[in-house]
């Protein structure tokens, strides 16, 4: 007998954006990645995008699995190389809105060279970097954003390398939009994702998110809820902050907000401008993805 409840199974509003046939996902309880994916789905809903023209590219790692769960044209590439794949995808079809969704180890360590050059060139893509400060998929090793002296599986006596300040890195390389939020700030993330996708050029959004299984636990910092309490208590919003000053210390203050929002010609706009100047009417401008 079918109950009334079963007849009226509520559909989560983000379901149409997800590949429900791939659920359950692989992420641990308390992990922040799923929260950001929920925000991304809401950003897609509220942003009015033609979803057939949104492509998502991930690298390897826990966040690298995001592409596989989103009901979009999606590419799960190699470790660190999501950005150059996205570069080729975008340049070959500028109509696409291309979003790179990956983690700190993938984008900043093995993929760091690609990040800085895509920012420098102002490739018209959005990079969403989930920073859990650790390599999650491989068991919690020290990463390029691990604060000192956090304990990790390959820094058992505590991390001692200077971590990257991600917004400063993206800013100094020329990103036209740079923001940081934590997975506690779901409304702000959703808005920032839309802003980043609407921005012409290389936009970079860092989302600090917990890894309860490997970072929280090993450092005796509690679970996902404890991370949310930490983010709530220690996040300080400073829109327009000098990115030089937004380092994250171990369990210290987290400066959040929109730091950079500026205009600069995209790679294709600059290319068209140069070729038109030099070649005149023998050059037919290449599509940039924009009408003007």
């Amino acid at each position: 007998m079918t109950t009334e409840l079963e007849q009226h199974t509520p559909v989560n509003p983000v379901e149409p954006f997800l590949r429900m046939d791939r659920m359950p996902h692989i992420w641990c309880p308390g992990c922040g990645i799923g929260t950001t994916v929920n925000c991304f789905a809401r950003a897609l809903t509220s942003g009015g995008y033609d979803l057939d023209k949104v492509a998502i590219v991930s690298g390897i790692g826990c966040t690298g699995r995001v592409a596989g769960y989103l009901n979009l044209d999606s590419f799960h590439t190699t470790h660190g190389r999501a950005i150059p794949f996205a570069t080729g995808l975008k340049l070959a079809n500028p109509e696409l809105k291309v979003v790179v969704y990956s983690g700190d180890g993938d984008l900043i360590a093995i993929g760091g060279n690609h990040l800085i050059h895509a920012a420098r060139r102002n490739i018209d893509i959005t990079v969403i970097c989930i920073n859990n400060m650790i390599y999650g998929m491989t068991g919690g090793q020290v990463g390029p954003a691990t604060p000192n002296p956090a304990i990790t599986s390959t820094a058992p006596y505590g991390a001692f390398e200077q971590p990257f300040n991600l917004p400063f890195l993206a800013d100094s390389c020329g990103a036209v939009y740079v923001a940081r939020w934590t997975s506690y700030h779901v409304r702000q993330i959703t808005r920032a994702m839309r802003e980043a996708m609407d921005k012409r050029g290389f936009s970079f959004l860092e989302i600090v998110a917990p890894c309860p299984t490997l970072y929280q636990r090993r450092n005796r910092l509690g679970d996902g809820l404890d991370a949310m309490k930490y983010y709530k208590e220690r996040s300080i919003r400073k829109d327009g902050a000098n990115t030089r000053d937004v380092d994250i210390g171990y369990q210290g203050d987290i400066i959040v907000g929109k730091f950079i929002d500026r205009e600069r010609p995209t790679f294709l706009q600059a290319m068209n401008q140069r070729f038109t100047e030099k070649l005149g009417s023998s050059y037919t401008p290449y599509p940039t993805g924009y009408d003007d």
Partner: protein, 385 residues
Amino acid sequence: MTVDPKGVLTGHHYLDGDHACCEGALAAGCRFAAGYPITPSTEVVERISARFPMIGGVFIQMEDELASSIAVLGASWAGKKSLTVTSGPGFSLMMEHIGLAAMTETPVVFVNVQRGGPSTGLPTLPGQADMMQARWGSHGDYEIIALSPNSPQECFDLTIEAFNLSEIYRVPVMFMMDECVGHMTERVVIPEPDKLHVVDRKFTKRPPGEYLPYEVHDGWVPEMVKAGDGYRFHITGLTHDERGYPAMNWQAQDKLMHRLVDKIRKNADTIARYEEADLDDADVVVLSYGITSRVAMRGVEMARARGAKVGTFRLIVVWPLPETRIRELASRVKGIVVPEMNLGQVALEVERVVAGRTKTVLVPHAGGTVHDPEVIAEAILEVSR
């Protein structure tokens, strides 16, 4: 088959192999290229960077070969025919994405203008020592197609063929030039656009919802889609099922690996391209490829002048080897002489294929210059005696 006439520089030209390769790519419809400078291949992308703005293509010089080798995959999934160009050290960096291209069945062309190696080796001097790397340099099981031109004309003709094969079989195709062929300047005839054979990508006609990215309907090769057309497809370097979804089990691995390998191995006789001469009464065959095939011609003439009955067999497609034809020849000659600019790569595969039917004689050369034809002649005479 549609040829964009904008890319076809019809006429008689005097071009080096690198430039001819560029023209072949343009004629084949390549409209995206990514590269990183490396001797002796750079002239290919130099010409592309000058020519693309006139025909609606995009060239980007990436930050390294890791980046250029995956940017071309991204462009291919956006629907553009794409190529990247490099030489040995850059080719080593590209292995990661040759594997990804093989795994995701992405049509793309990798040009390697070979120089002496390993490591930095001989940047300005020739080699043919990347042949095994071209075949299996990335980890895991897979098969690719590799072509080897021996003239600037073939750099044009076979670059088109490389694109065609990459589309037909959805594999990364290795275009294995060498420094000599790349820098040698000869007459290159580029025909009228309608005289060219160019294979278009086979996009699915199935509507979204009825299409699975890795479902094979006939033969071995699934139909393709491109981003932005509403299919909402997923592509991954993980072992995947017909939906393109990760499938972490041995059954999925078994099915996928067999198809990826078999689509090339079982079509080897169809893919094969070779050139034969003087084999009717030959009791020795010289099997060679690339620039060495031209040097070998001189060795063959010298040996003939001294009474040897020798014919030639030139591999145009090196991988997959034309095993059937090699076995036929092996059953009726005293030996197969294989000169190559390495210390034994293709020769070892020939020896395996021949399987004792006749002897295989490697004539190795470490690279840096071509063989002395006299050495090849001596090897022929030794076998024919």
